[in-house]
């Protein structure tokens, strides 16, 4: 099979194994075809990431990111892990989320950028952005993307997810809202995005588990989970995040309270668009850190 025929699902499923074997997955895609069936996802939690006054500790965020990536790529050194996904001549777009009430923390954005620069990428070849990526010169030329956003419940798609975060790569996002955002995964096949996302970081520091009001936010419905979920497979990362949100809803409301509308775009990303694995049986979840209130 030629590299051109590598599907996104194959890339995602096999990337971990290849990386673990010390193979630079992007230069040698033929090596990816292994028998690996599961997507590796790392969930890391650290209570020290949120300080007593509610701020984020940048050093702890950096440590959490570093450890996640080391475990994900099965390396002892952080730099070796990052070099498996980023080359010095890459042009890197760090796709974040700037939703007012719960954005990708700047501390995490900086932590990612620092490691990308340590791979030899010059600062002018790195951009951190959410809205306006299509008009951003770095994103326009990007050869690699890092995708990071917090998970939150969402009135139309069930949850705001890693899969959904790439909606800013289309000219008219509302065109993708049909059937409660069922086909968001198809965006990942558009040329501007396809095969470029090297790492996904789902922010679960203070996720939101319920919507209220027109802006969909109330401080009552976020909680300190102190977590990050990392993986190559965005579908698997989202599936893990979704399980945690659902479990929190059950605990908080004291009964099964399904997301409405359901976050079907995650399941369909697997079954219809073959972007990755949404089935927990096909996810190799590695948990690091404290277990209390882990929900999964």
């Amino acid at each position: 099979m030629s590299p051109k025929s590598l599907t996104r699902r194959e890339f995602i499923k096999t990337g971990t194994l290849a990386a673990a074997a010390g193979t630079f997955i992007l230069n040698n895609p033929q090596s990816l075809f292994a028998t690996e069936e599961k997507s590796r996802v790392v969930l890391i939690r650290n209570k020290n990431v949120i300080t007593k006054d509610g701020k984020l500790n940048p050093e702890v965020i950096q440590d959490m990111l570093d450890e996640s990536v080391r475990v994900l790529f099965n390396t002892k050194e952080t730099s070796k892990a990052w070099k498996k996904i980023i080359k010095p001549d890459d042009i890197v777009g760090i796709k974040t989320n700037v939703w007012n009430y719960l954005r990708t923390p700047p501390e995490l954005e900086n932590a990612i950028k620092k490691r990308v620069m340590e791979c030899g990428v010059s600062e002018e070849n790195i951009s951190i952005k959410d809205r306006g990526v299509l008009r951003d010169p770095v994103f326009q030329k990007a050869t690699a993307l890092i995708n990071s956003r917090p998970m939150r419940t969402h009135y139309w798609s069930g949850v705001g997810s890693l899969i959904k975060n790439h909606i800013m790569f289309v000219e008219k996002p509302s065109d993708w809202h049909g059937d409660s955002c069922a086909d968001l995964a198809a965006i990942w096949k558009l040329p501007v995005v396809a095969y470029k996302t090297r790492l996904n970081v789902l922010v679960m520091l203070t996720p939101q588990f319920h919507n209220i009001g027109p802006h969909g936010f109330s401080p009552e419905y976020v909680w300190k989970y102190y977590g990050l979920i990392t993986g190559i497979d965005p579908v698997a990362c989202d599936a893990v995040g979704l399980k945690i949100i659902e479990a929190k809803r059950k605990e908080f409301f004291g009964e099964d309270k399904p997301l409405n509308p359901p976050a079907k775009h995650i399941e369909l990303a697997d079954t219809r668009h073959h972007l990755g694995n949404a089935d927990m049986k096909k996810i190799d979840l590695i948990k690091i850190g404290f277990k209390e209130g882990i929900f999964i």
């Binding site: 939150r152 969402h154 139309w156 209220i212 802006h215 969909g216 401080p219 359901p262």
Partner: protein
């Protein structure tokens, strides 16, 4: 002389009638009655308006909810005060009171009646609906001062809307006994059919803007159930929708039979005139049948 008096009287009565009629038709705009200052907060920047096209720019993640009902515009004002969080006032001009009610039912967690026709107060937020307006006043994080200010603002907006709105007709078909009032969810888009339990990802009830659906929870001691009622424009459409549902839901279901599903809970669905009524996740057969019996009695009246 008599003829002249008669003419003047007729003209006067006609003019009076016109004036009264025009006054009744012109609804006061609640955004015009907002104060410039409130408890030390004052207008921070120019008011903003968003319509169908620009709503996405303003509310990331909720726009489709408003559009799935009927929405014309939203008025937004921000008040600021030194060392206090901003107060954000949003007044959504929905196409009808049904739409304002519908949006409200999907965006609240508990039900109160302090403002408008129904309201909810949470930490740093007051949300209510009245007439065709859905109103949200936010101030995060809440402070003692902001709590008082947003309450005053909510009162001012409420007072400026002098007419109450009608509830959708379908509401009257809900059996009242054991109804959990805050669980009522009104919808005209299939995206909301899973409000209380997962039914389907697809539009298996053929729901569109001409159908009126309600989902609600019922509870009595240890008994629980979810009741669904959908009103179609005519009997044929209701029958057709039931067939579509039966063909696409679970293979074991049979209309008009109360059955225990694999999850151990009871289910029943049936068609009555231009309605579909159903029970999902009932803790017992008796509880399910009783709710449906009462619903059918209301339909038959």
């Amino acid at each position: 002389m008599k003829a002249l008096t008669y003419l003047y009287t007729t003209i006067l009565i006609s003019l009076l009638f016109i004036v009264v009629n025009i006054s009744a038709q012109i609804k006061p705009d609640p955004s015009k009655n907002l104060p410039d200052n409130i408890n030390g907060w004052s207008i921070n920047e120019a008011d903003r308006h968003f319509d169908n096209e620009t709503l996405y720019d303003y509310i990331d993640g909720s726009a489709e909810m408003f559009l799935s009902f009927g929405f014309s515009k939203v008025f937004n004002r921000i008040y600021s005060r030194a060392n206090q969080p901003d107060i954000i006032v949003d007044i959504f001009y929905m196409n009808s009171s049904y739409d304002a009610f519908g949006v409200f039912t999907h965006s609240v967690g508990k039900l109160e009646h302090e403002f408008g026709q129904q309201s909810q107060k949470t930490d740093g937020a007051i949300i209510f609906w009245k007439s065709n307006y859905y109103v949200s006043i936010l101030c995060h994080p809440e402070t003692p001062e902001s709590k008082e200010a947003i309450s005053k603002l909510a009162g001012a907006v409420d007072k400026s809307i002098n007419e109450a709105g009608h509830l959708p007709e379908i509401i009257k078909y809900l059996p009242k006994e054991n109804l959990v009032e805050e669980s009522v969810r009104y919808f005209r888009h299939y995206n909301w059919q899973n409000s209380h339990t997962f039914i389907s990802n697809d539009n298996i009830f053929n729901i569109d803007q001409n159908t009126h659906g309600i989902l609600a929870r019922y509870k009595e001691k240890n008994e629980n159930a979810i009741f669904l009622i959908i009103m179609y424009p005519n009997n044929i459409l209701a029958e057709s929708a039931l067939k579509n549902f039966t063909d696409n839901y679970k293979p074991e279901i049979i209309p008009e039979q109360t059955i225990k599903l694999k999850n151990g809970l009871w289910f029943r669905i049936q068609n009555k005139n231009n309605f579909i009524v159903g029970i999902f996740d009932s803790s017992s057969k008796e509880f399910a049948d009783n709710i449906l019996y009462r619903a059918e009695s209301i339909i038959n009246k």
